[in-house]
Symmetry: C2
Subunit: 587 residues, 2 copies
């Protein structure tokens, strides 16, 4: 991060991103469309590497399932999940020019009321403020219509019938919830288990701004972790117990304080700052992920969400934030305790049974009462009403009849009072072996485009007035540059052979023979290439090459025969560049 | 592929896919929605591995750029590309029950007319056939309305204004074309270069069927390769010249023949069976890709498309097909020569200039005429009309005036005939150093879900009545199973340590301690796990484990210290299982 504040990192990154092909606004030839970006060749590699990091931590290491499902889903899914009712933003329209604006952003910008405060307001409160403050159209200065809620999902039709509404998913989570039963089977019907989906999602923002930070189409990584709320302990919590999390508590936020408190995982659990062991476990994983993509822990924090800030499904919720030059703290992941909200919604809407069966550690004895009508007495006494009474006594749960006897001295059928003498009461001891319940869910959810942005910002360095992207070596879009010193005398062919060999070993290699070596180093530094290998005349004689490190600007000379093993050890973090050999003269 | 025909591979695969979590129809709890699938944990890994293969061949090895852009695009993009006009299917609706059907499928099924023939027909011909044959609703047997064209793109609105139509992309190619200028810059303004995009695409099929084969949401890999049509040679064609391609020629297809001809690349080019060197180069890469995911070349063919089968943008087009048990030959990739069609469309619609500049090898001399009005003569002669005449003579290209003199003997301005005597004509020799032109494009386009399906079908084997998925080792969803022989005496802990170590080495490992070893092997075989490692009592004594091969059902005993290197060599194809060591007794 450039500390010299004359430079705005956002502008530097955007210029670099367009020039070198990290990302840019899509459809520029058609005037551009807000909220859509194209990742270019370098950007796509970087983004894939960040997504691989997520997979590595959660899928490969922790055994979380990964699924891939569709972006378009039938209306029922988002009606059940509550999105059709809740996934809205307040919008105002100009009476004259008909331009439309986010009401909350307008109030925030024109009146200085914090977004935190506006989020608490309902539509009529927003209307009142607009009237009272005589807010006008920011474009043509005319009056505004009353604010209305705008559904920020993309709507479409599935198939040839106009009634079959579909929506673009605003999150990847619902695809997981609706498939719960099948996924639970794949977990061999055991809890806990987790499922992640990494994919595109869509939010039809009214007026997207802030480049990569607020997009209409973006990549989300939603992880839903299902567990038994009565056995909510994380079995690997001890592995992270001493990790420290920087947390901005809700109480401090309410008072407008920005004070970050540091807690170990153990402290945060003991003090009930985070209620769920699994939730805090994933918060630690999120901290680790951000560290691995280059954001030091001092520039991370978790903020506890206030009641009115939380999504409609969440009880406790923390946002992981990273400090960036242009906007201060921005959210990169959300950590919500969704309870059984979503599974319950889909159960109610679909009729599917998402309850899982749990066997008790030992079966419990349960006493069951049995009420048997005395036919011989009821018949003669109640005559034509007898059958009705017998039916009622048989159908009503025994506990209820029993309770009525105890309270009232009789059980009422129609207008007939039936006393205890007309029935035979017996007890039965049953062994209950288990029960059915709906699992609870904690969800870490990552915005991959924001991870991408912070990875770029934290990689950004200036050295001798040149831009260097000091990516951690495992996310660098290009691992190796291979350069022939000159484009003659067989050096080019040798370099191409080496390039192909390294590619066959699985390395991401860029061959470059254009311009001076200095210019090629500069281009590679700007792309964030970890190491550059130069083939010179000595290579042809003794099969050695120089390797140059992007951050140290130092070089070593190594033998081609040891190169693949050396590089493999380097990229798998078993060997540092400093241990490759003795540094030689370098520019 | 099971050769016993009592078993339909499609059914076997679908049952296995649902049970083991490769894929299933999405939204089952809401009755399912045709054309959407969910890839489960094993399926997602397999699909990612297939996509990695595509990346490996094209991006990592050949240096093709990869980009990632949005699925939703503004209407203008698909108006310009021709999709809004052409991306339609004929549909009929029942007059009584209002059900809607694909007209071509209905005619094919009810009248036995081949889809090839129907594809030639326009809407009124389809209407005639329906009337003549008195085709009725297949559901309620009532009459059908006249057929109509149905736009098979998903339509939506971008942002808060109802006029801003957007579509879900039916292909990933247009995202590449619209960004041509920026991508060309990233290729340092040199041709040829290629750009691939792998991502979801949407086609709003009227009535999707055939499971993974025809989906409404699917994954496409579109590669657009840009080159100079005047320098169309592929510089690496010699590397593939002797590769043999099985081709079903258009001429044979027209006569209903299924005869596959085999040509070397050289022959196919010499005989002008394939016109573009780059196109055939990518066809060879496609053959290689299919081989690598397990489809032998005998079960692949390329069919030449007939004129009326080709997409609206293509001149020459081949489909790569693979033979599958249920449907015979199905398309897995398309190879279209799109010429400059798309770039031209977007140039015309947007006003952007997609022409690239080419410097001639040597500058050519071009004679330019200059026409200079003789003011001293024109003024007195034409008086108040003089200025109009002078302006016309100055603005009109000299060649045009010159031609008019030659043909008519004068040049007309309004009603005034201007003879050659009123102008001074001079010649100028110019050196022209280059020219601007629109690049041509060949496109290989892969349907990733179909690649997935054929990978499954070709991996499917039966042995002792058990299903085994014999995936090529580089696409197997799980590389390694790790099993403690029994769940006691520290074997479990040892196995977990080994699992973690192997995961840290980057292997995809599944730990399994449930059930007998035999059952665990069977489960692993069914998931296609390449190798299984068993930890037994000897492991605790001498740090050795057994490794079992999925296909051979043979075991070897190896030392833990050599394990990572051995496995790395195995998965990088440097070592065969047979060379791990001496086979030991195994079940």
């Amino acid at each position: 991060m450039g500390s010299g504040k004359e430079l705005d990192n956002f502008l530097t990154i955007n210029e670099l991103a367009r020039r070198r092909g990290f990302f840019w606004q899509s459809f520029e030839i058609y005037g551009g469309v807000g909220g859509f970006v194209t990742y270019g060749p370098l950007g796509t590699k970087l983004k894939l590497n960040i997504e691989s990091k997520i997979r590595d931590i959660f899928v490969n290491k922790l055994g979380i399932f990964e699924i891939e499902s569709s972006i378009i889903a039938p209306g029922k899914v988002f009606e059940a999940s509550g999105h059709v009712n809740h996934f809205k933003e307040p919008m105002v329209e100009c009476l004259s020019c008909n331009k439309r604006f986010r009401a909350d952003h307008l109030i925030n910008e024109k009146l200085g009321i914090s977004l935190l405060e506006i989020e608490k307001m309902n539509l009529s409160e927003i209307k009142k403020i607009i009237k009272k403050s005589k807010l006008e159209c920011p474009e043509c200065k005319h009056n505004l219509k009353d604010p209305a809620q705008f559904l920020t999902m993309f709507k479409t039709t599935i198939g040839p019938y106009s009634g079959a509404t579909g929506y673009g998913r605003p999150e990847a989570a619902q695809n997981i919830f609706v498939e719960f039963n099948r996924l639970h089977k794949m977990a061999r019907e055991k809890l806990p288990f987790g499922v992640i989906q990494i994919g595109h999602a869509l939010r039809n923002e009214i007026s997207p701004r802030q480049g990569l930070i607020r997009l209409r189409e973006f990549t989300i990584a939603d992880l839903e972790f299902f567990f038994d709320p009565e056995e909510a302990n994380c079995d690997i919590i001890s592995e992270v117990e001493n990790e420290i999390l920087p947390i901005l508590l809700a109480d401090n936020r309410k008072e407008g304080k920005e004070k970050i408190s540091k807690f170990t995982v153990r402290e945060a659990l003991d003090k009930k700052i985070v209620c769920s062991e699994w939730q805090i476990f994933f918060m630690v994983m999120a901290k680790k992920l951000l560290l691995e993509i280059g954001v030091p822990v001092e520039n991370q924090r978790f903020i506890e969400k206030l009641p009115w800030e939380k999504a409609h499904y969440a009880t406790q919720c923390f946002d992981q934030e990273v400090y960036v030059d242009r906007w201060g703290w921005i959210e990169v992941s959300g950590h919500a305790y969704r309870t059984d909200y979503d599974l319950k919604c889909h159960m109610n809407a679909s009729g599917a049974d998402f309850r899982v069966y749990k066997e008790f550690k030992k079966p419990t004895e349960k006493i069951q009462y049995l009420v048997k009508p005395k036919m011989g007495l009821i018949g003669p006494k109640f005559k034509e009403k007898a059958s009705e009474i017998i039916e009622a006594l048989s159908k009503t749960p025994a506990e209820e009849i029993f309770e009525s006897f105890n309270k009232l001295g009789y059980f009422l059928v129609g207008d007939q009072k039936i006393s205890e003498s007309y029935v035979e009461i017996s007890q039965q001891k049953n062994m209950v072996r288990g029960k059915r319940f709906i699992p609870h869910v904690v969800e870490p959810s990552f915005g991959c485009d924001r991870l991408f942005y912070v990875a770029l910002e934290y990689a950004l360095k200036l050295k001798n007035n040149r831009i260097i992207l000091s990516f951690p070596k495992n996310i660098a879009p290009i691992q190796l540059g291979v350069f022939p010193l000159v484009n003659k005398d067989g050096l080019n062919e040798k370099a191409k052979t080496i390039t192909n060999n390294l590619r066959n070993e699985g390395f991401l290699v860029e061959f470059d023979d254009t311009g001076s070596i200095g210019r090629r180093y500069a281009r590679a530094d700007e792309a964030g290439t970890s190491l550059c290998i130069t083939i010179d005349y000595s290579t042809l004689e003794d099969e050695t090459v120089t390797i140059r490190d992007r951050d140290l600007w130092k070089q070593v000379r190594v033998s081609l025969s040891t190169l693949p093993r050396l590089l493999d050890d380097y990229f798998k973090d078993r060997l540092k560049f400093e241990d490759f050999g003795t540094f030689i003269n370098s520019k």
